[in-house]
Amino acid sequence: MIHSPYVRKPASVRAVMGQVLLALLPGVAIYAWIVGAGILVNLAIATVVALAAEAFVLRLRKRPLAPALGDLSAVVTAWLVVLCFPLIVPWWVTTIGVLVAIVAVKHLYGGLGQNPFNPAMVAYCCIIIAYPSLMAQWPPAGELDFQTQLNLIMGGAREIDAVTGATALDAMRTGLRVGEANVAVILEQNAFGAIGGRGYEWIPLGYIIGGLFLLARGIITWHMPVAFISALAAISGALWLVNPDQFASPLFHLATGGAMLAAFFIITDPVSGATTPLGKIIFAAGIGILAYLIRSFGAFPEGIAFAVLLMNMCVPLIDLKTQPAVFGQKRSRVP
């Protein structure tokens, strides 16, 4: 028998995920427009692979296909994987990435809602360790025609120098590592635009628009984006103020890599993140700080993925320690 409540808000996982996809569109559009339309091909590949993998695993697990395939969560995961990867990774890299995210991370832990780690970030970490060179090939924005992009994505021969450059983060890091240059000199390089990577620096704008949409729709709360951005800005700002020659500005850090994608779409993954209001702040701030430390002092140019996974591990503890007071338990509420 069905019990109360007998009425329900017309909400569904499908609607939530659908809106996340919608919110990604501005970023995707700018990406396709400025950097390369090949991203759309990658998104298509990833979507197909994700749905196929989901269906395959569900069949193995003897679960009904329709609800899980319809909930769109696999598509969101797939899109996030693609948006973290370079534009011109071969199709099989995308495929492996998506398979890792869907099969290994999501389903081996029990399916939707069960994975302690962020699927897209695990995929990114695995692939960057397995194929570091492929993952380092970021084509300069808008310099490859669609045909070339397509060839590369389909596994065509790679004349690496001709087609790829380093990301802004990479260039900055290598430059600073070599030690002969300072931030200002490095920023003169071709890889850089006004604040971040040339061309790429516009994409975060799209993510911000999408993120604001998600905030307005109540799908994410302000805690994580604000805490993450503040923490990243604070730590990079502090070191930048101490030594602007050796440390890039906060703006640079916020505009490069996947910072904005992470702030609004990745760290806000509800399944693997902290859930309490204070917990969300701690979780997101932790990612911001760790990401900066890895970027600046670690072995990889982009540290967000590792930072997310590290903080994922802390989630149970964070949630446990930040349980909010329940109704009537806050002394301040009794005037």
């Binding site: 109360s4 409540p5 859930t275």
Partner: protein, 569 residues
């Protein structure tokens, strides 16, 4: 005057559906051919039957005497003949039965002699007794005895009158306030005087502007001795929850397990205020209430219904449409589907909704929890419903209690918003009843152990006594035979055994008593009525299982700490 209102966390905005029945003026429901008046009007206490089969009773005649601290009297809702006394199914999700008096109306509807109660010529105690004997209980759903809530009459600063009526569809309080505002205000003034309040706040959701208007007018006309404010509160379910409304109006948050009285505020439903007015000014005991009949119906409306009217008798009044598949008692957020339509209307029954698959479609398939936190954002008790869900589901009840399972008021907001369509409240109900069952079990086990231990003591005692007697006898014999030092000693020991023996028994009894007192688990006090019914039911089952072994008052039912929370509708 602009009053500062406070917010409570969470809440939801279900479709109000008030307009269906809100325009229909209150009409008397036709007399049924038989009334079934439960002697147990709430799960807290049952009245003692004082009529016999075949006896003729008048309307308002007492048929059940208030018994126990939480008891209130029960009256014949009309004049007629008592045709049966026996168990009858009650309006409860589990199909609980309760003793009831069946009355066949004689059609005269003839009152007993009614005498208004003169408070000026009497004291508080007799006022409270008067209310108890008039059968006045909370009419917002919980049916908690009002004379208990009126308490000691000291330390209450604010009296809150709850006219929020936040559950969708229900409009009985709305109509009552619109049509009988003066009576409600008078009842509120009486309550305020008895409780010694210094101000009265009347909270009404702002989706009922006519009720607000009518009540303001009534206040202006009554020109009460103490400040009375009619306040339109934002419509946000569950603003009519007692603790939520107190929070909104006064800013005070009453923690779980605590009573408003401790914080200087007490809350009564508008229906209760109206009943108090009738009881005091006219001497009329509580024998009827307003019930909203609405939903998938052609002629929804509000009816003045005699307590004890079988629900099936009321259904034709609203003209349920052909596709009606269930009837809900209460609102769609907290009510339940009736499994037996012969159950009677009781003092806490406020609404019957005809339900159809189109109006209340079955929830879509349940998906796993994605920890989106929607439920936590909606929870007025500020819990983490999804954590409770995990713990309840995995039967980790200890953890669930640590995460304040018993603070959950079962308002349904979490289930309402969950994008995975998880019936969260069902899981909490399950967990709560399992925990109660376990506590009952361990309480029963404790008792059995006590009994066992006491028997051991007794056997031990008898043994010692026997030995002592034997020893004494032997000593006597020996003493007779020869007088030596050693024998003297033995006698002393034998005599001395009397005292430790008594001490042992006393200790055993004291322990048993203590354990009995400790049975009441820390966080199951202040239970919602359904919960208590559930306990009562589990208790009954268990009694049966135990082969009717010694019945025992339920800790939670006898505690003074009972919330008396009027659940809002």
């Amino acid at each position: 005057m602009i009053r500062k209102l406070f917010k409570f966390h969470g809440g939801v905005h279900p479709e109000p559906h008030k307009s269906e029945s809100a325009t229909a003026a209150i009409r008397p429901a036709p007399m049924p051919s038989e009334l079934v008046v439960p002697l147990r009007q709430s799960t807290r206490a049952a009245a003692r039957c004082i009529v016999e089969v075949g006896q003729h009773v008048l309307k308002g005649q007492r048929i059940g005497e208030a018994e126990g601290k939480l008891g209130t009297a029960v009256h014949a809702p009309t004049s007629g003949e008592v045709i049966a006394i026996g168990d009858h199914p009650m309006a409860h999700p589990s199909g609980l039965t309760a003793p009831a008096v069946h009355i066949r109306p004689d059609g005269l509807d003839q009152w007993i002699d009614l005498t208004p109660f003169d408070y000026d010529a009497n004291d508080r105690i007799s006022m409270l007794a008067n209310l108890r004997d008039a059968g006045i209980v909370g009419m917002g759903g919980a049916a908690f005895p009002s004379h208990i809530k009126l308490g000691t009459g000291i330390g209450i600063e604010t009296l809150v009158i709850n006219g929020a009526e936040c559950e969708p569809w229900i409009t009985c309080d709305d109509r009552l306030m619109r049509e009988r505002g003066n009576a409600v205000i008078d009842g509120a003034a009486i309550l305020a005087e008895v409780i010694g309040a210094r101000r009265v706040l009347i909270g009404i959701e702002d989706n009922k502007p006519e009720a607000v208007e009518s009540m303001r007018k009534a206040v202006a006309e009554a020109r009460p001795a103490l400040p009375m404010d009619v306040i339109a509160v934002p419509s946000l379910y569950p603003a009519g929850g007692e603790k939520q409304l107190i929070r909104v109006l006064t800013g005070i948050e009453i923690p779980h397990g605590k009573l408003g009285g401790e914080f200087g505020v007490q809350c009564f439903n508008t229906g209760t205020a109206h009943a108090v007015h009738r009881a005091v000014r006219f001497g009329e005991p509580l024998v009827s209430r307003i019930v909203t009949l609405t939903g998938n119906a052609d002629t929804p409306g509000n009816y003045e219904v005699l307590v004890g009217t079988p629900i099936q008798h009321l259904l034709p009044l609203m003209g349920p449409r052909p596709d009606t598949d269930r009837f809900l008692l209460g609102g769609p957020m907290m009510g339940f589907a009736l499994t037996d339509l012969s159950v009677p209307i009781v003092k806490g029954s406020n609404c019957i909704i005809a339900a159809s698959p189109t109006l209340f479609p079955p929830p879509p398939a349940e998906l796993p929890c994605i920890r989106c936190g929607e439920c936590a954002r909606a929870c007025p008790a500020e819990l983490q419903p999804f954590e409770l869900y995990w713990f309840s589901r995995s039967r980790n009840f200890g953890k669930a209690q640590e995460y304040h399972l018993f603070d959950c008021i079962e308002c349904g907001c979490c289930s309402y918003v969950c994008p995975s369509h998880i019936p969260l409240v069902d899981y909490y109900r399950f967990a709560k009843s399992e925990i109660w069952a376990r506590e009952r079990e361990s309480a029963a086990a404790d008792q059995a152990r006590d009994r066992f231990e006491f028997r051991n003591y007794r056997q031990e005692r008898e043994k010692t006594e026997k030995a002592a007697k034997l020893a004494a006898k032997a000593a006597e014999t020996k003493a007779k035979l020869a007088e030596t030092e050693g024998v003297d000693n033995k006698v002393q020991v034998a005599d001395g055994s009397e005292d430790p023996k008594k001490a042992l028994i006393a200790a055993a009894l004291a322990r048993a008593k203590q354990q009995k007192a400790a049975i009441k688990p820390a966080n199951t006090d202040n239970l919602p009525p359904e919960a208590e019914a559930e306990i009562a039911e589990i208790e009954a089952r268990r009694q049966k299982a135990l082969g009717g072994s010694e019945p025992k008052p339920l800790g939670v039912l006898t505690t003074d700490n009972n919330g008396g929370e009027d659940k809002q509708s």
